[in-house]
Amino acid sequence: DQQVKQNSPSLSVQEGRISILNCDYTNSMFDYFLWYKKYPAEGPTFLISISSIKDKNEDGRFTVFLNKSAKHLSLHIVPSQPGDSAVYFCAASFYSGGSNYKLTFGKGTLLTVNP
């Protein structure tokens, strides 16, 4: 049972345009959400996060939006650059006591930014 879903396996955009990557979740206990970027032959690297008490967080060209009522978040990249081409993973977490901070990942979306 997938608790974090990235329904688009791939997305292709033109350089300079906006990239929008979507993520849906089912567990209402999730209270922290993260986006990771992964290049081939490398491990995922943290990109941006958002707490459930916010609905938007911005860092340079990257903005994450959270719609709790819809259990939906999205990552916007503006403007998109060829170096942004990578797999983007959405992840969600909640604190369940002790040392349990488990991240639940989606399957990822391959973003290709064409020059």
Partner: protein, 116 residues
Amino acid sequence: DAMVIQNPRYQVTQFGKPVTLSCSQTLNHNVMYWYQQKSSQAPKLLFHYYDKDFNNEADTPDNFQSRRPNTSFCFLDIRSPGLGDAAMYLCATSREGTGLFTDTQYFGPGTRLTVL
């Protein structure tokens, strides 16, 4: 640069032959994690250590074990690899759990395991 290092990057083993994957970190983080990622799937947490405390996920097979001899190193042991265990194994670390928020996890490059 501080980092998470995984060795080897590629590991080939035979069906049923024990294998050990290694992870080391220079970040001095309290928490270390092991994930399994199969092709086109989400990374799946196998277990994690908070300092020396081991936390196993309920659905992690007994075939998978882990050791953390010190803060810097963590090992993943697969006692009898099956064909279904072929995957990318990712090690990650995080500073500590405060309960206030989820600390960012820093990932190594992964070890690609092939089982013949």
